[in-house]
């Protein structure tokens, strides 16, 4: 069987950043992705990133993606696309399919950067064509430049719901309403203000009751919720929409970590079950690292920093960096991560991340 030094699974922001750092350290790195193009979800993010200039704030997501791909190419990272990894064995043998053939390769170190997937809500009609994840709509409009529908109801007022609503407007769709079950808007005020200015009504304390249609969505019924989040009879409204988008959170894609026998911690604020890991992003399985949304759902900016961190820690473990050099580089990244995890939303994530590190250290929960 072919043997390689380092395998990175997933060519999104975390995986690309990890591969770049490893290549910079003269590591022999192979990057796998199931898609035919690298970049993960970066290319659908056409908005400018927040943060400071060192986090590439003010740069649009897809331009950050292009930058990462240029660097990956310049450094000569071996990228295998159209290669879904479906199994990893305890001896770090990786099984994947490529060009309709099953292949296996053995790696000395592995970094999992598999990302996350959108959550779904179940309600009558939720499986009808036209009901989709907000991220799916975002992919269609911003990457493939196709409108999934013309009149949209958005469920969820977190940043994904707010940003995708705005981007649907930019793409020429009509966002009929945005509903939020909680009594307040979940995401940044600046994003909410943008869609409000564009005339999109935001209904807080509202949920969806059902979606009507035979072969596809033709309307949706929403209802107001009382203080105990119970529907208020008589407050039902029927909205004429052809598309319903759900922005109700994401869950880390952890299958490969489970297969490897990693220990997990349950952290709801980070999206559910997360592989335990230390400050080096190494899991409870020696030589297996994690980075990005698999370690808890955050943002592309934190995913890139975690990817770099995992890459450098992995390079250090392989002896490609001495302790002092690795320590300096990792410290810089931790400083940037701590800056990114500030503010009312970042603080919650920092707390959850610190908790995760603590649980991983103590081996409980």
């Amino acid at each position: 069987m072919k043997e390689i030094q380092i395998a990175v699974i997933g060519a999104g922001p975390a995986g690309l950043a990890a591969a770049i750092e490893l290549a910079k350290a003269q590591g022999n790195v192979t990057l796998f992705d199931e898609n035919t193009k690298p970049g993960g979800q970066l290319f659908k993010q056409i908005h400018k990133f927040f943060g400071s200039s060192e986090h590439l704030a003010g740069t649009r997501g897809y331009n950050i993606g292009k930058q990462l791909l240029r660097e990956t190419e310049k450094l000569g990272v071996n990228v295998i696309l159209d290669a879904p990894v479906y199994a990893i064995y305890p001896d770090k043998t990786i099984s994947y399919s490529h060009q309709n053939r099953e292949q296996a390769i053995k790696a000395e170190k592995i970094i999992l950067a598999t990302g996350a997937t959108e959550n779904a809500l179940a309600f009558p009609g939720s499986t009808l064509p036209g009901v989709m994840g907000a991220g799916a709509a975002q992919t269609m409009i911003n990457v493939h430049r196709v409108l999934p529908g013309k009149k949209v109801l958005m469920i969820g007022s977190g940043n994904v719901g707010l940003i995708v609503s705005y981007q649907l407007l930019q793409a020429g769709a009509d966002v009929v309403a945005l509903i939020e079950a909680a009594p307040q808007i979940g995401g940044y005020g600046v994003h909410a203000a943008k869609i409000r200015r564009a005339g999109v009504p935001i209904y807080i304390s509202h949920t969806i009751q059902k979606v009507m249609g035979k072969n596809e969505v033709v309307a949706a019924q929403i209802v107001q919720l009382d203080d105990n989040r119970q529907p208020i009879p008589g407050s039902e409204k029927i909205l004429e929409v052809d598309t319903v988008c759900m922005a109700v959170g994401l869950s880390p894609l952890t299958e490969l970590a489970w297969l490897m026998g990693c220990e997990f911690a349950y952290i709801p604020q980070l999206g559910g079950h997360i592989p335990k890991h230390n400050h080096n992003m190494e899991t409870t399985v020696s030589g297996l690292y994690v980075a990005g949304d698999i370690t808890g759902v955050e943002e592309a900016s934190t995913a890139m920093e975690e990817g770099r961190l995992a890459g450098i820690a992995c390079a250090q473990a392989l002896g490609l960096y001495d302790q002092e050099k690795a320590h300096t580089l990792k410290k810089e990244i931790w400083n940037r991560l701590n800056t990114l995890r500030t503010g009312p939303f970042g603080k919650i994530r920092k707390f959850a991340k610190d908790e995760l590190l603590k649980i991983s250290r103590e081996g409980t929960a």
Binding site: Q41, G130, V131, M132, G133, R145, L147, G172, K214
Partner: protein, 105 residues
């Protein structure tokens, strides 16, 4: 419906087209785009019928995770249309239930 002009992305300059056949009907698709995008552009949102309850399904996640958008492509069932690029002359069929392999296989 295609988005030809966009305030951030500008005009769509990728105009190389291929022809695909969806349930026997020819459809123009953009070279390299996923099958699902070509279908949505053509106004097709119902991709398959579920095996037990015979309910319609279309795209849900759009990134190859959920498998809601699977169709029979060139005689092979259960192809994730949201991440499979179109090719000239591709034959795409609405999948009924679990689908059937074509005899050519």
């Amino acid at each position: 419906m295609r988005i030809t002009k966009h305030p951030i992305l500008g005009e769509d300059c990728e105009i190389e087209l291929v022809t695909i056949f969806v349930d026997g009907k020819p459809i123009q698709a953009k070279k390299g785009e996923p099958i699902a995008a070509a279908l949505l552009a053509a106004g097709i949102r119902k991709f398959r019928i579920t095996p037990k309850d015979k309910n319609p399904r279309g795209i849900f996640c759009g990134i190859g995770r959920c498998t809601d958008c699977i169709m029979t492509v060139n005689g092979q069932p259960n192809v994730r249309t949201c991440i499979t690029p179109v090719e000239e002359g591709m034959i795409i069929e609405s999948q009924i239930g679990l689908g059937k392999w074509s005899d050519k296989e």
